[in-house]
Symmetry: D2
Subunit: 131 residues, 4 copies
């Protein structure tokens, strides 16, 4: 399984997530936690963090968690609920495996902030490409 | 209803979408079409356009289409399917209303490229805040 | 590909759908249409057709459409929007393929009634088990 | 808040769920647990419990949990993942509130069996009709 440093090295090549400021801060078996500092560059016309930024944080946490074992796993279907706008300054995306079969997997991801607000939840259906 | 220019003016304040390079190119009743030129800055570690960028394009097209009438409408739940990676250089997000009740609405959004590939489809459950 | 009669013969063994009164009325490439007469037995406590009955009709239409080619295809993730209660006496579920890769497929399903009301829409992520 | 007996009395009028054999066994704040004995009448052509029966159990558990407070709350969008077929003889649907705002709410529902298998998970976006 990849270490935290392995994951950081591999995923720094995800230019979209890296440019946004997303950082991997913890990995474990079927688990990853990422952080994203909130800045004006992430805001929508209503001055909230854009849904796309929340999605990206959540999907990136999934991608890290699901790829730690080495076989390429991609998002097939993602279902995200936007619960409450954040008033915080840092967002966290935490992905946890729910079920992993040979090719199909299911993850749950939460997006929270440093104030403890549950901002969004996402379920991901992933597909693992076997060698 | 907002004109194309009204929508451009209003949504240029969506800094996340604007910085990514998303542009509104067409609006109509319950409809919006946006474009996003593909660049390396949108790529993931596997060198495909990041799912978060596809989601942002699709959700932004929804936001434009759903807000043309003037009452603030936000995404409550989005469900996105990633069908096929794009090999194109420009992506298009097209949102169409399926159903609009007093407060709840449903939209379908497609993401395609200039080669005609259907890259992703999304359904959005939106909520309209009445004055 | 299965004919309409082949599909009827195979799926009459789906006791849950058959007992509810669901009938296959049309099949085509990546397509199936089913019908379900509305009766009190399908109603919820609010006297509308139960969401589970609408889901079953939609998922069954998907199952028929996706299995016409012979390789077993199952629902992995279904995402259903309940648009408007039906005031009709017959419901129709129509499933259409959006994308079919080697193992993963995506279908869109609509549920309508004889009055032309669009009652529900569903997207299905399916998985094809290869021999 | 409704008691268990109140909920049983109210929901016995859900003829679709009642006829299937679904029973409410526990309620709490934003919570409900229901049970469904597995019988041949719930099976699909592949001899597994039909996805529609699993959905109905899960959605019914949501409906109970979300309506205990008295204001009518309905499913707007449901997103269900089918994780693993059950080999058990009894299924349980457990719904828990994730977030409840004035009109929109979000619930998570699990479907398990007496063997401890996690058969399906569902997220529900609900809408509360205020008087």
């Amino acid at each position: 399984m990849m270490t935290l440093q392995d994951a950081k090295d591999f995923f720094q090549n995800d230019r979209f997530a890296t440019n946004m400021g997303i950082e991997i801060i913890e990995v474990g078996e079927g688990y990853a936690k990422c952080r994203l500092p909130v800045s004006d560059a992430l805001k929508n016309a209503g001055d909230s963090v854009q849904g796309g930024a929340l999605f990206t944080l959540a999907d990136f946490a999934f991608a890290v968690a699901a790829n730690l074992q080495g076989n390429l796993t991609v998002s097939v279907h993602n279902s995200i609920s936007f619960l409450k706008p954040s008033k915080g300054t840092v967002l966290f995306g935490e992905a946890r495996v729910v079920s992993q079969a040979k090719r199909m997997c299911f993850y749950e991801v939460s997006v929270t902030d440093e104030l403890g607000t549950l901002v969004a939840t996402m379920t991901v259906t992933g597909y693992t490409k076997l060698p």
